[in-house]
Assembly symmetry: none
Homo-oligomer: 230 residues x 2
DNA sequence: GCAGTTTCGACACAACTCCGTCACTGCGCC
DNA sequence: GGCGCAGTGACGGAGTTGTGTCGAAACTGC
C-alpha cells in the first residue's frame, strides 16, 4: 500500500481544524494542522502535502499572502480555500492566485471530502487502494462518476440526497441524529430545524429501498435519528 | 491512554451540577463546574473542554449570551444546552447560535451521558479505549449503532427501555431502587410513582429473557428494586 | 423564465409512555 | 402451616410524542 495522501489544514480555529482533520483522517488521509499563516507556509513547502486547505482569515500572514508566497516559490500544490466571506471579489482574487477550489463557510463535511477526493483524483496522487465504489444491499455508489445504481439500474439522486447518502454510509451502522446529519451535509451553523432531513431520507428510501414503507437499510431510530445498515 | 475528555458544566443549581458532574466522572471524564455565565465563559475559553453543558437560565450572563460570546471568539466547542424551557423558539434560537444538542429538563442522566458520548465520538476527542459494545448473557448492546441483539437477532427497544437497560447495566450487579432508576432514566424531580418502572422492566424481560416468567438476568429484589447480572 | 431541487409547515398516523386495575406471589405473624 | 398484607407482574387503554407524507412556496442553475 502506497503512503496515504497528505493533507495540510491551515486554519487558526482549533476546534474547526480538529473537526476537519478528524474527518479527513477517517477517510484515511494523513493530516497536519497549521494554526497560522507562517507555519502553514513552512509546512506546505517542507512537508510536501498533496492538498492544502487554506483559511483566508489567519493571524499574521493571511490566506492570500500564504497562497501568493506559495506560488512565488513555484509550488503548484492544489489549494482549496476555506472562507467565511462569500464575496465575489474574494473568489476572483483567490482564483487569480491560482487557488483550485473555493469553499465558503459554513460548508458541509461531505462537500469538503468530495472536493479533496476530486482534487487527488485529478492530480493522480490518490494512490490508496481505495474503493471507488461503495455498496449496501443491491445499491452501488460510484464515487468517481458520482452515480448511484440499484440492482444495476442507474438512479438519479440530486446533490443533497447524494451527500446525505454518503454521510450515512460513511458511518455505516452508527446512528446519526438529524442535527448531526445537518451539520455534516448542510454545514455547521445551519439553522434548519424542520422536516428537511426527514424529507430527504424519504427520498432516499423511495429511490433505493425495495419497499420504502418497510425499509431494510435506511432505518429510523426513534427519538434519535437514522441509521444505515448493509 | 490519552487524557480523559474534559467536560465543562455551566449550571448555577449546585445540586444538579454536582449530580451531573458525579455521573460524568463515573464515566471517566474530567469535569469542571462553573456556577455562572461569566466564569463559565472564561473556563470554556481557558480550560479548553471537549464538551460544554450549558444551562440557559444563569445569573448575570445568561446561557444564550455565553454561547454567543463563545462563538464570537471563534470557539467551536460542542455545546449541549440544558433548558427548563421546552419552547420551540428557544430551541431554534439555540441551534441558530450553533448549539449542538438541546436537552430539556427534566432529563435523565442516561440520556445526557449518551449525548455526551455521541458528541465525543463525533469530534473524535474520545480517545479512551472505550467499549462500544456491552454484553450480558447472550445479549449484546452496540452503543454506536444504538441497537440491542439477543443471540445475534436484533431486538428493537424503545427509547425508555433502552435507557433503562443501560442504567441497569451501568451498575451491573448492584441493586437499584425504583426511585434511583427513575432519577437516572426519567430525570430528577420526576414524580412518577406507579407501575411505570415495573412496566418497562417487564418489557425488557419479555424481549431479552429466554423465559420472561423466570428471569435469569433481570432480577427482582423484593422490597428494594431491580438488579442485573451477567 | 423554466425545470428541477430544496425547504418547510400541516396533518394523519404510528410508536411509545404512562398509569390504573386486578391477579398473584412472597413474606411475616400468629 | 394458614392467613393477611404488602409488593410485584400482567394487561390494556388513554394520552402524548415523534415520524412519514404530501403539497406548496422559495430557491437555484441554466
Amino acid at each position: 500500500m502506497s503512503p496515504a495522501p497528505r493533507i495540510l489544514v491551515i486554519e487558526d480555529n482549533a476546534d474547526l481544524a480538529q473537526g476537519i482533520a478528524y474527518n479527513l483522517q477517517l477517510e484515511g488521509y494523513e493530516v497536519r494542522i497549521a494554526p497560522d499563516g507562517r507555519s502553514g507556509l513552512d509546512a506546505a513547502l517542507l512537508w510536501a502535502p498533496d492538498v492544502v486547505l487554506l483559511d483566508l482569515m489567519l493571524p499574521g500572514l493571511d490566506g492570500f499572502e500564504v497562497l501568493r508566497a506559495l506560488r512565488a516559490k513555484g509550488s503548484r500544490i492544489p489549494v482549496i480555500i476555506l472562507s467565511a466571506r462569500a464575496e465575489e471579489a474574494d473568489k476572483v482574487r483567490g482564483f487569480r492566485l491560482d487557488a483550485d477550489q473555493y469553499v465558503t463557510k459554513p460548508f458541509g463535511v461531505m462537500e469538503l471530502l468530495e472536493r479533496v477526493a476530486a482534487m487527488l483524483r485529478r492530480t493522480g496522487r490518490d494512490a490508496r487502494p481505495r474503493e471507488e465504489t461503495l455498496t449496501f444491499g443491491d445499491v452501488h455508489i460510484d464515487l468517481a462518476r458520482h452515480t448511484v445504481a440499484k440492482s444495476g439500474k442507474e438512479v438519479v439522486l440530486p446533490p443533497k440526497a447524494y451527500e446525505l447518502l454518503l454521510a450515512l454510509l460513511r458511518r455505516q451502522g452508527a446512528v446519526m441524529s438529524r442535527h448531526e446529519l445537518l451539520r455534516e451535509v448542510w454545514g455547521y451553523g445551519s439553522s434548519v430545524v424542520s422536516r428537511t432531513v426527514d424529507t430527504h431520507v424519504a427520498e432516499l428510501r423511495r429511490k433505493l429501498e425495495d419497499d420504502p414503507a418497510a425499509p431494510r437499510h435506511i432505518l429510523t431510530v426513534w427519538k434519535i435519528g437514522y441509521r444505515l445498515t448493509a
